[in-house]
Symmetry: C2
Subunit: 457 residues, 2 copies
Amino acid sequence: MNTKSKNIPLNFERVDEWAATSRSAHRLEKWLFTRLLRAMDDPPIAVRLWDDEEIQNCPGPPEVTLHIREPRALWGTLIDPELYFGDAYSDGTITVEGDLSRLIELVSVHRPPIFAEQGLLGRLTRLFAPAPQTNTLSGSRQNIHHHYDLSNDFYRLWLDREYMQYTCAYFPDPAISLEAAQIAKMEHVCRKLRLKPGDKVVEAGCGWGGLARYMAQRHGVNVRAYNISHEQVSYATERAAELGLTGRVEYIEDDYRNIEGEYDAFVSVGMLEHVGTENYPSLGAVIDRCLKPDGRALIHSIGRNQPKLMNRWIEKRIFPGAYPPTLGEMTAIFQPYNFSIVDVENLRLHYALTLQHWLKRFESNRGRVLEAFDEQFFRAWRLYLTGSIVAFRLGDLQLFQVSFNRCELHDLPWSRGHLYAEPQPPAAAVPTSPRAPATVRPAANDPRPRTLPHRPQ
Amino acid sequence: MNTKSKNIPLNFERVDEWAATSRSAHRLEKWLFTRLLRAMDDPPIAVRLWDDEEIQNCPGPPEVTLHIREPRALWGTLIDPELYFGDAYSDGTITVEGDLSRLIELVSVHRPPIFAEQGLLGRLTRLFAPAPQTNTLSGSRQNIHHHYDLSNDFYRLWLDREYMQYTCAYFPDPAISLEAAQIAKMEHVCRKLRLKPGDKVVEAGCGWGGLARYMAQRHGVNVRAYNISHEQVSYATERAAELGLTGRVEYIEDDYRNIEGEYDAFVSVGMLEHVGTENYPSLGAVIDRCLKPDGRALIHSIGRNQPKLMNRWIEKRIFPGAYPPTLGEMTAIFQPYNFSIVDVENLRLHYALTLQHWLKRFESNRGRVLEAFDEQFFRAWRLYLTGSIVAFRLGDLQLFQVSFNRCELHDLPWSRGHLYAEPQPPAAAVPTSPRAPATVRPAANDPRPRTLPHRPQ
């Protein structure tokens, strides 16, 4: 996160000192917060102000206490909670006693209409907010650099060890480990893509290259994986060389719009959030250009039920240029090119659980995060991870896996049972020999056209 | 189909006689058809005119011969093939030697751009075409009466015997019978809805009531099923009484817009095609009104990859008011009410296979169809069924099963494996005792919120 733009003290030892030197809370300030809690149906939240005065209207004992340590934190949060709360929590002018996720959950569920996106304050604050970062070729590079080039060591502290998947895992059983769930996710994606040994696969936005390595190792395919994060591409290339995958997996530091070649499968896991709806037709054109007639494709992306801008604090401090689309908005990728959507799966609770694993590991590595960054950074990321857990748990965010192919692909499986037929491979086993191709039994009355007249292009 | 509006001879014995008395084909007419075949890349189609002159440009032997038996059939088909060919084929002024589905396939794949929806003739003919039937409350009743009230005995000749499902079946194995595949479809739908004994289910557009009976018999639920086809509701009510289901299944002759009550599940199989996009928000409002907070819902509908009007001949003669939507258009049902789409499955090849079964039974019952209707009716339905097979085979039509629920439903399965876990029940077994509810194993780190604060409405 960009700390240069913010003139705030970073020494947390002194937080109590500033609070002590501040003026006492004005009657108006207390009244406003009392009104706010009332508008929220008096949730089990107490508010302690900088002069230690406590406001609470809830009938029972409060579950969480919000400690507002400076007057400006109170006014900022009252006027533009979406943006200001995050900054105030990060710099410690607001602290929370109790479960942070419970606080976010209570506030999300009880949010007064005036703060909603279509509410008065929601509209006003958006009106004066700077425009989100755009995802032009250079804009995308800046946006991606901001988040993904923080440091590989930082992400290694809390992502799964082997594949460093910074996207939603798949928990067919919620009790399995994060490592097993990330492998299960990659296997699930590979099965949806119906990969077979020797297939040429292109990946748009490959992170640290884990899925590309997995596909090459377990499914015997050749992968070209594109990414504009320099740090990630360096790591991925090195790791593939260590594993003897050079020649079978190629990482390219370039934008998805520059993808070239023809492929049996197109896959993109967790990139669409950074593409921007205005670029969906170009993404569709890229897929149309590079997918073979019998190719299969999959896009995995955070999404929404209704169009809604990204939380402004997350957009500003964590993920510039990010936007989670609705399924309807996503169709702008497929429709112009007559792609057939064959399967959509919503995995939102899987992302909540993935984030819980990440947060736990992140918190347990506090000391090592502070060696590289500072307390403000640590608190900002804690808030971002916690807020995301709540958003996926409550259904404010969705996770769509969309499988699609050309309209002309008729060799489709008769059931999705093959995704569930065998147990997921164990997390420890990483065979290097490709799997045998699945056998397909032709049926006498199979309506799939096999002898379609080919029209020259 | 409405035969009164058309002044054409119905006696097929005399077809050859008219052809014989007609004038010979003009040089312009032959030239035009030669040009047409050339514009279609000379497919293996021969055209024989009323004077027995044959036109064929294909390099090899023709696979199909189109016999145009009257000059007006030639001109009609040249100017407005989408509408005219169907009528001319039905009344026998055009006949086909060879495989009708192969002809339709060749013409679909090789259709010259001028006849495409956005082509010159396509646009012109749509410009002068009457508006499609609307789906107001009374318009829907007329449209549905036109098709579904033909006669129960007619549909009984070629639909599956027990459940009379006039919608896409589900063939987990393409070799199973139509009867087994319709049961597999209903079971698939029930599993997607996660029905449990005692659930209250509402069905919008229930056909002959087969799914409602199946749900009550096999899953122990109580069903209210709405339908505006008088013939179908009478049949369904009678059949439920015979099976001792009165009190557990109630059929209501009314429009889906008048659904009342609160339900654990909403299901609609094959009705959306008759709703009209302008009514999607009202359909969403009906579901929003009647679905309990933890309710599950499913809509099964013919669809498209890209918005496109229904084939005009089918819209006029077979299905007035019908329109198959894209997935993007369907989101107008879900988005305004914040419904979460949890699963989409595209079953288009299953519909092609279903239609193949129907056509085979229909053809083998030619004699009995002719007892009740006439040759023209028989040929129109043959064309409609054959054309639909080709449309689903080639991907001009899709079949979407969309599962959704309220955003607030957090008790979601961790995998779709339960849809595939056990074998489908055998077609013959129809137990009357409800199934035991599936056991759900809670997990320690399950992120599904169970203690969410309830906000009073």
